[in-house]
Homo-oligomer: 160 residues x 2
DNA sequence: CTTTGCCTTTGAGCGCACTCGAACCCGTAG
DNA sequence: CTACGGGTTCGAGTGCGCTCAAAGGCAAAG
């Protein structure tokens, strides 16, 4: 059904590169709420994973080093990102950009590994984070009001 | 009309401390959109300014050191924050929490000092920042969706 | 066979925004 | 008078999250 097994990594690399000419680097809808596109190859190189997620290969390796991520290797010892790995990266990115510190994220993912009985702690963690997101939304609304106000007066002469 | 001149700094310090017992550290509405309360003393000590803005005295001194802020001194050489200084601190804080780097903020405030003819540059700067705020709002909405999803399934068993 | 280019690991370095420490100065309370 | 709880300066230290450098391995292209 899909051609993953029939293409070499470098062929896929080229295909992706071609595909990305002249379009937005990441289609936001593709990975909205962790949904990955159906035609995503089963196994991706680090460069492909970086391209798709918008992170750098450096950052992906870093995340793995600190234990946020576990990624398989191919026969040459190269990292090979499967759909689950990609989903986790997207999840991590969502929480990171919403201000969750790496330590907290790390803790949450440890809880997930530890199994079902940690659900209450994970819930508490997420609830706390939701509160923080909502606080940030309020802060941003205020900042937006100030910024719009300055824009309205063409750069703002009054009270810097 | 107000009692500023009639109270010593230490009396005002005590009054503020008393006032802040058992209430939220900062009333968000008070300083919404740079509006400061009318009964704010004309001159505040660094501790009072810190209390009101939610920054630390360390941070206020730091901001002054790097040129973000200019603050007068009293006869003893102590910093004395007037309404204009407070308004600027609130402005700085709004832009900081919305992710504007100190360097950019610094540049903007320099432009303000340089006078009216820099208005176009300030406008451009603010427009760019508004775009960034709106991007952040989109990111936060996505993060909120993910977080709510996890909360809905009590800590999230599926796809970490 | 060699070049080219992406991959690997490890440890070190960097930029930002504070945050702290040391040493010293005011002014009020006891 | 002296102690104390603020304040002052300056330079240095911290924590976070990457980001890079060095030294080397694999594999397709010329």
């Amino acid at each position: 059904m899909n051609t993953t097994e029939l293409l070499t990594a470098s062929e896929r690399r080229q295909a992706i590169a071609a595909h990305h000419q002249g379009m937005a680097p990441i289609d936001p809808d593709l990975i909205c709420l962790l949904e990955l596109p159906d035609d995503l190859p089963e196994q991706l190189t680090i460069a492909e994973a970086a391209e798709i997620t918008g992170l750098t290969a450096h950052t992906l390796r870093y995340y793995e080093r600190i234990g946020l991520l576990r990624v398989g290797r191919d026969s040459a010892g190269y990292r090979s990102y499967d759909r689950q790995a990609m989903a986790r990266i997207v999840f991590i990115t969502r929480l990171r950009v919403s201000g969750m510190p790496i330590g907290t994220l790390s803790h949450y993912l440890d809880l997930v590994e530890q199994g079902e009985h940690t659900a209450p702690q994970r819930l508490a963690l997420m609830q706390e984070h939701r509160d923080q997101i909502q606080q940030q939304l309020r802060d941003l609304q205020l900042a937006l009001a100030v910024t719009d106000y300055k824009i309205a007066m063409y750069g703002g002469t009054a009270a810097p």
